[in-house]
């Protein structure tokens, strides 16, 4: 029995050469188990290949019927109408709009929460606050959708009416705000890890120079933790772009090219939901459209995730 190249060489060379015949017999089912475990681990690669393969396959079918140029430059999105137009910009504008609104909430609030937990809170408070914030990320998104549509929107309608602004029943404003609340823990938790890792000596050096606490935080700690914070921000963007149920429930199903947060819009994800809810025959153009949209969505989030990982890897400051 040869030494498998799959096993750790350090340990295998030790015990594989000295085992008895009886032990060798035992090893045969071992090989099966090892192969089973390898298969389990490979399943993740198969999933990735499956996702990319499926998206590419259906997207190619889509672009046979719709020219890529039209997909990228059209100003209308009407794939379910008689006169079909496929301007993905329309859906991207809505996704961009809800994402930006969400980030306006999640980035400052998340970062400040991270600062509070690592710089101000006692160890005891920190141990309570962090998991409490994590609860926000554990609430099902359909619940947030309910909250956005039936609580936040009516509240904002009353509030904005006093300024003479008419807020539609479906709008990207409340969907974005609630989505921002949902991704606070993503920002807070990851930024806090980065801030917490900044060594105490840096802070003390700041204080020794006569800086105030605020100056130490914004002038020393945050710059030192910048790579981790940036990675957290990018991950938050990726979460917001891929979020589905909140926008599907509260932002509406009206594809339009606009940056007006008070009117109904349709994001990439809610378009996929809209088509999936209908009775779309597999293999039709409408069916392929959701894969083309899915491909766009996948590429955007994938690039964001890769950038986030790269930033953490490359710019991480290593402290003694």
């Amino acid at each position: 029995m040869s030494v498998s190249p799959l096993e750790k060489p350090l340990t295998t060379s030790g015990w594989m050469s000295t085992i008895s015949f009886a032990q060798k017999r035992r090893l045969r089912p071992e090989r099966f188990l090892e192969l089973f475990f390898l298969a389990c681990a490979s399943l993740s690669i198969m999933t990735t290949i499956g996702i990319i393969g499926v998206l590419i396959f259906e997207t190619i079918g889509f672009f046979r019927e719709v020219p890529l140029w039209n997909f990228l430059t059209d100003r209308q999105w009407t794939p379910l109408f008689a006169k079909k137009e496929f301007g993905i910009l329309v859906l991207i504008s809505a996704t961009f709009l809800t994402t930006v609104i969400a980030l306006c909430v999640a980035l400052p609030v998340g970062l400040l929460a991270a600062i509070y937990m690592s710089e101000y809170a006692s160890e005891k408070a920190r141990r309570v606050l962090k998991p409490a914030l994590e609860v926000l990320a554990g609430i099902p998104t359909v619940v947030y959708g309910y909250f956005a549509l039936l609580f936040v929107t009516p509240l904002l309608q009353d509030l904005l009416a006093q300024f003479g602004i008419k807020l539609s029943g479906f709008n990207s404003l409340s969907a974005g705000l609630v989505m921002g609340i949902m991704i606070i823990p993503t920002v807070a938790s990851l930024s806090e890890d980065a801030i917490y890792a900044v060594p105490r000596s840096l802070r003390e050096a700041g204080y020794a120079m006569g800086a105030t606490r605020r100056e130490v935080i914004t002038g020393v700690v945050l710059p030192a933790a910048l790579s981790g914070i940036t990675a957290a921000f990018i991950l938050a963007v990726s979460r917001a772009v891929g979020e589905t149920m909140i926008v599907a429930i509260a932002a509406g199903q009206n594809p339009r090219l606009t940056l007006d947060p008070t009117v109904p819009v349709q994001t990439m994800t809610s378009f996929i939901v809209q088509v999936s809810l209908g009775d779309t025959p597999t293999g039709s153009l409408a069916f392929r459209t959701i894969f083309a949209v899915g491909m766009t969505l996948f590429l955007i989030t994938f690039i964001l995730n890769v950038i986030s990982h790269a930033i953490v890897k490359r710019f991480r400051e290593v402290y003694e």
Binding site: E7, F37, C40, T48, Y116, A188, R213, T244, S276
Partner: protein, 306 residues
């Protein structure tokens, strides 16, 4: 708060004295950060109060044991609740062995190679893929391609899709649990002449299993709230029967709690909105009990090892 800083101003005369704007900003940041931390929690409380105020009066035995209906006051959650429990048990059945197996391979068997590293990066990336994309994968592979096995838009297709979705989370949690087992245990086992599998089965797994179980339950509690991938693979919203308790039952159409809630929220009538709120309470109770189970397991585990 400022004592440390202000006492040192004497040493650095180039600094402006801590007065005016400098002092104001210093005093402001702490409370501002506290408000930000509490903001999320306040919203959470408001959300819960809102849901309970709308849904509590609607919650009844009749609601739990009725099928969906056209009339909001008769609509119930039974098929969605049963569907969710079915789906999550089936997902656990598939995902737990696969996730633990993958984690065992990566922690206990895999050599440090390019290939292993590739798998690791790949799992990290998969955890960041939006869940709706998994729905598209499930739609093509499980609903269309494996139609002879899954019978299309069925519980089985849903569970398989969910399995792929939760696997990265289970693998990451299980690897952490395996890494927490001290290396000396492995060396002792191998030195006694045990094979690698014997070491894993008899020494490592008993120690790591509670951690793996906790991670799995937490991953499943994410899955039970997932809506988007199941809508994409075409779970129905109107199911007025329970699946037969058999293998054939796995090949029947289904609905789950979040989809039923989504359906009710999307309707214009206020009666359905109340039903949605009541459905959310049921969903949150299921979620809460799963999380409580995970916490219970973790506590038991911690007490045992100390």
């Amino acid at each position: 708060m400022t004592s440390l800083a202000s006492s040192s101003t004497v040493l650095t005369p180039t600094w402006a004295p801590i007065r005016g704007a400098r002092r104001l900003w210093d005093r402001l940041l702490g409370p501002l950060a506290l408000v930000a931390t509490l903001l999320g929690l306040v919203v959470l409380v408001v959300l819960l109060i809102d849901v309970f105020r709308d849904g509590w009066p609607r919650l009844s035995w009749q609601f739990l044991t009725s099928f969906p209906s056209r009339k909001p006051e008769e609509a119930g959650i039974l098929s969605a609740l049963v569907g969710s429990l079915w789906l999550i048990s089936l997902t656990a059945l598939f995902a737990f062995p696969l996730g633990v197996g993958a984690a065992i391979y990566l922690e206990e068997y895999a050599p440090r190679s390019r290939f292993t590293e590739f798998i690791e990066v790949n799992i990290a990336n998969l955890a960041g893929v939006p869940s709706i994309i998994y729905g598209l994968l499930g739609l093509e592979v499980f609903v269309r391609f494996l139609f002879p096995i899954t019978n299309g838009r069925t519980i089985l297709s849903g569970a398989l899709t969910m399995t792929l979705l939760v696997l990265p989370m289970i693998i990451i949690a299980t690897r952490e649990a395996l890494r927490a087992v001290p290396d000396s245990l492995r060396q002792a086992g191998l030195a006694m002449g045990a094979t690698r599998w014997q070491v894993v089965r008899d020494l490592i797994l008993p120690q790591a299993l509670p951690g793996a179980l906790t991670g799995t339950i937490l991953a499943l509690s994410r899955a039970i709230g997932e809506t988007a991938p199941l809508i994409t693979i075409g779970a129905l919203t109107y199911i007025a029967y329970l699946p037969p308790f058999s293998l054939e039952g796995l090949r029947t159409p289904f609905t789950v709690l979040p989809i039923q809630i989504f359906n009710w929220v999307s309707r214009p009538q206020a009666g359905f909105h109340q039903a949605a709120a009541a459905g959310i309470i049921v969903l949150l109770v299921v979620l809460l009990s799963m999380n409580a189970g995970a916490i219970y397991l973790r506590n038991r585990f911690q007490r045992r090892t100390v």
